[in-house]
């Protein structure tokens, strides 16, 4: 019994020691501790919220050397969900996302610049609707540490505002208040390996 406790303690110490180095994380998709959400104004009178249900990705987080930090996410655009079947059908159609032709969106980071103790600017290429353009995401590092089930987790929240028209998505028909879409990217990653 003592031996086992010692073993567990050694593992805790080792894992604590390990997390100061660069580590690769897989987004906890299975446990649904990650969200790709958006909001857009409706007529300028209210906010409409939606999300993408299916996506996956990985990130590298290095506390010592932020230059090594990177993110890669693939989003299944057909999984758009605004809690209204008729609207989702319309959003997937050629009028907007044309998911039959462009079913996938990707974000691949190119730089990570810390702006504060727990904040940073993450720049990368967003491929959406068949167009690739750079976007900058304001990132907040929410927290990291051991989870209760033997793993190690790190979580971030990102916010970006994009104009989908720049990706060739015809937002003009929704009116001037709906030109911009705010993205909320919440990810919790589980560290890979030890």
């Amino acid at each position: 019994m003592k031996k086992r406790i010692a073993g567990v303690m050694a593992a805790v110490v080792l894992s604590t020691a390990a997390h100061v180095q660069a580590a690769d994380y897989a987004i906890d998709k299975q446990g649904a501790h990650a969200f790709v959400q958006f909001r857009v104004q409706h007529l300028g009178y209210s906010w409409l919220y939606g999300r993408f249900n299916n996506f996956d990705g990985t990130f590298t987080f290095d506390e010592k050397d932020p230059a090594k930090n990177k993110v890669e996410v693939t989003i299944d655009v057909t999984s758009i969900d605004s809690n209204h079947a008729e609207r989702d059908k319309h959003l997937r159609s050629e009028d907007f996302l044309n998911t039959a032709k462009f079913p996938k969106a990707t974000f691949v980071s190119t730089s990570y610049k810390p702006t504060g103790e727990d904040t940073a600017e993450l720049t990368g290429d967003l491929t959406l609707h068949g167009v690739t353009k750079p976007v900058t995401i304001e990132v907040e590092h929410i927290g990291m540490g051991d989870d209760p089930w033997g793993g190690y987790r790190a979580g971030f929240e990102g916010r970006a505002t994009i104009k989908p028209a720049e990706w060739g998505i015809g937002m003009a028909k929704l009116g001037p208040a709906s030109e911009e879409v705010e993205l909320f990217l919440t990810v919790e990653g589980i560290r890979k390996g030890k």
Binding site: T78, D81, H84, A85, E86, D88, K89, R92, L174
Partner: protein
Amino acid sequence: MAFWRSDDRQYSGFAKLLHWLTALTVVGMFALGLWMMELSYYDSWYRTAPDIHKSIGIALVMVTALRLVYKFVMPQPGALPGHSPLVRVAAKVVHSVIYLLLLVMFVSGYLITTAKGDSLVVFGGYLEIPSVFSGVDNLEDKAGEVHEIVAFTLIGLAVLHALAALKHHFIDRDDTLLRMIRRSRG
């Protein structure tokens, strides 16, 4: 009671009423459907046109249900003596497929709205039909594709059906068309 009972000479007044009401509705719904798909978001009809389309659709479901009951309860005029076995079979097949496609239109239209659990609300809110089938990914898209393809197929078959009636009338010079349009004699 010529309004309720068909005989071998012609369809009853009620059968004619249901037939022509359906014909008018199907063609009108096809045009309305195509038109409403092209409306811009700021068009004043953007919300009303689909509401009207749904309400007429549900009304047609009711009329068709009544029509099918009537069809099986009341004897229908048989095929005209001059019709060959091939013509009889062809007519039977086309009529059956038209009914089948109507059913597919009803179900697929209903699913576009209810695929994610929303109710189908019609007649200005007086009737709310709940969602009974959801949970399939992107069901609203699949239902939409079926609705569109089958709409064109149905219109194609209706045209074929009309051309066949005109052929009977003008070329064969038989009673096929007349017994669906002639005034019933008391």
